[in-house]
Symmetry: C2
Subunit: 206 residues, 2 copies
Amino acid sequence: MQNRRRALLDKAEFLFAEHGFEGTSIRDLAKEAGMNLAMISYYFGSKEKLFEALVEDRSSSLLEKVKAPNESTSDPVQRLAALVPSLVDRWLANPRFYRILYREASLNSRPELQRIIADTLLRQVNEFRKILQDGVEQGRFREVDIDLTMVTFYGTITQLLSASPQMHQRMLGRRWGDDVSEMAHWRNRLVDHLLQVMQAHLLTRA
Amino acid sequence: MQNRRRALLDKAEFLFAEHGFEGTSIRDLAKEAGMNLAMISYYFGSKEKLFEALVEDRSSSLLEKVKAPNESTSDPVQRLAALVPSLVDRWLANPRFYRILYREASLNSRPELQRIIADTLLRQVNEFRKILQDGVEQGRFREVDIDLTMVTFYGTITQLLSASPQMHQRMLGRRWGDDVSEMAHWRNRLVDHLLQVMQAHLLTRA
DNA sequence: TTTAATTAATCAAACGTATGATTAATTATT
DNA sequence: AATAATTAATCATACGTTTGATTAATTAAA
């Protein structure tokens, strides 16, 4: 019954997001999943390999949906306008996964995991950087600080996805839940906001 | 010899920043500081209380320097232009401390620590929100999404401070070291960038 | 088509190690 | 001499991992 493997991955994603990788014991995980402790080693070999399997699973399932970035136009403004909602959808489809990645990426331990995480995150980052560079080269964008513009862009989503429930409550007022209508709400606000900020920042004034 | 207490705080800050709170054992800490394990309990009572002492120490030393935000003008544009460099200086004076806070703030464990962290972070956040609200009310700023504008602003610094060395290397090219000239470099870039982004976003177009 | 052999899945228990914390004894300082 | 600071030793608990046994399911041999 191979869907118990999947159940372990899902529970692990939840617990890692809430309590971190170090903060989640495989005993907690097994108990939450209603399974025996040994199943983790049986399916994955070790706790760390379970993490790697999680990254593998989530990022491959994401790649399926996303396909190649739309290259149908070379206009950086349009490419940006197309990329933003696509990225937002990617994030909001797996908020817990990205919360885990961003947090573990801020650590300086377990170098093998670090490499995997960095690879996964940087794949996205480079799509965005390409657009910025092209736009600046073509004179369609102002000569902004490209690195920090990327930091601002990805920082926005990191901040939003990473905040704990109580931080959300106290910082944003609005709850950040799992339910679909909440997500739709945030999706639209986020897309609008990111596009506004980026366009105001990048486009030369009339 | 009370500066051994301080030495413990400093080493703890370093190790927590690198490996996280959970990922740092009090044995590692004692060994790094060249002290006996029991000194942690002697000075602080427990590992968790040591963390609280660290927050207490760093945030009080920060409050000294910052004083009340400059209220000499009511012009939101000027207040913003004054707040940004002041915040950037605050962050860059204690990059490791904020790296710790942001990471632990993304967890949903140890509620008591969570409260302390949220309190510490939100104090700054509210300075900024006040300016945004006033600016929008007075019509000096566009009617932006205030919550997400704050997310973008704080997300920028979170992202920059939180990235591990190898993430910095691979994302920004430039190293993010401790040395002073590096810090001066980033300080100026950050201030310029944040002001540019925020002003482009907030100020109504001619 | 029954029976034997093999593989996959699951479990309870135990392993050795690491953890945070405490104790009691010792040394240094005042 | 009394207090403060430091140490080594110890404690109970929690951790990730491994083991050996058991059951269920699948395949091969008769």
